[in-house]
């Protein structure tokens, strides 16, 4: 049955992201459920704001695919800052190396797992990049909270020695996003490749 809103279209980019993030098993059915709700209930009730509703629904799927990885990376960063503040080492190289490899590994793993689940390389890169963004936000909030607690002169000097506030608030979050893309690509390629191979051999 045709209704006045039967032809309303949600934002194309949001719909494309949704379809990429869904498993092949759910791609048609879940995107169909959202489209039906959008056209049948949300557009008639909210008009142009219906697009925001649709974007929020898609954001839920994106967040679900990446929040765990983002929290792990963000926590690793905050723990590193905490250790550097409370137990400053003579040489920061070891801690920096461990942290860097942890972030590289988690970004690649986020890409691998998401691409494995969805069989989509784009989904893997998207999840890895979003996870890195979440990690950046966690890192900024964690750093701000630490500064609220410890802001005496000697602690600030330790911060300066280990990289400074610019690094914590600007450099690291921006580098994280670049890392999310750079490591998400090989991780996702591997995830999709292994999944395809397993499926073909099974």
């Amino acid at each position: 049955m045709k209704t006045p809103h039967s032809d309303a279209r949600p934002p194309r980019s949001a719909e494309a992201i949704l379809r990429v993030l869904l498993k092949p098993h759910d791609r048609e059915t879940v995107s169909g459920d959202l489209l039906e709700e959008y056209r049948d209930a949300i557009v008639p009730a909210r008009g142009r704001a219906a697009d925001l509703w649709y974007i929020r629904q898609v954001a839920w799927y994106l967040f679900r695919a990446s929040w765990v990885w983002g929290t792990v990376m963000g926590s690793a960063l905050v723990i590193r800052y905490l250790l550097d503040t409370l137990v400053p080492p003579a040489d920061y190289t070891t801690r920096a190396t461990v942290l860097t490899w942890t972030l590289l590994g988690v970004c690649a793993l986020a890409g691998f797992v998401t691409a494995w689940r969805t069989r989509s390389m784009r989904a893997g890169v998207l999840a890895s990049t979003t996870a890195a963004t979440i990690a950046g936000i966690v890192s900024i909030v964690g750093t701000a909270m630490m500064l609220a607690v410890w802001h005496d002169a000697s602690t600030l000097e330790e911060w300066r020695r280990s990289g400074g506030l610019d690094e914590a608030f600007i450099d690291v979050p921006l580098k994280l996003i670049a890392l999310g893309i750079a490591m998400g690509i090989p991780g996702a390629a591997l995830g999709k490749g292994v999944r395809t191979r397993v499926t073909l051999s099974g």
Binding site: E28, T29, V30, G32, D33, E37, Q57
Partner: protein
């Protein structure tokens, strides 16, 4: 423990949201597909829900063997995209009964609404 569906795990009793979803699948009978379940659960719980929360719960319940699903035809309003229809399995019925019995046991002897110790 005859009604428990996964004895020995941390999630022996269904959560409230899982119960709501399973009961709506039962109520909707042959019309239990994602969007219809979303609407029914929203009305029952009287709040807006993310569609993803319903889909994730349906997927989890199906992976536990409490639900089964089959594909059905799409309609014009969903651009012809298929619908996934759900059905509660015997394990789902057992899980619901166990959850209800547990709920009743927890509340036995307590006057409702709870106000203070005199409710006991």
């Amino acid at each position: 423990m005859e009604y428990a569906y996964n004895v020995g795990t941390m999630a022996e009793v269904l959560g409230t949201f899982e119960q709501a979803v399973l009961l709506e699948v039962l109520r909707l009978r042959d019309e239990a597909y994602g969007r219809a379940i979303l609407k029914a659960v929203q009305e029952r719980l009287e709040r807006e829900l993310a569609a993803g929360a319903i889909h994730a719960t349906l997927e989890r319940l199906e992976s536990k063997g409490l639900l089964s699903s089959r594909l059905g035809p799409g309609t014009d309003i969903r651009a012809g995209r298929a619908r996934r229809f759900y059905r509660v399995q015997p394990a789902g019925i057992r899980a619901l009964n166990y959850a209800r019995r547990t709920f009743n046991n927890i509340w036995r002897g307590v006057k409702w609404p709870v106000t203070a110790l005199e409710s006991l």
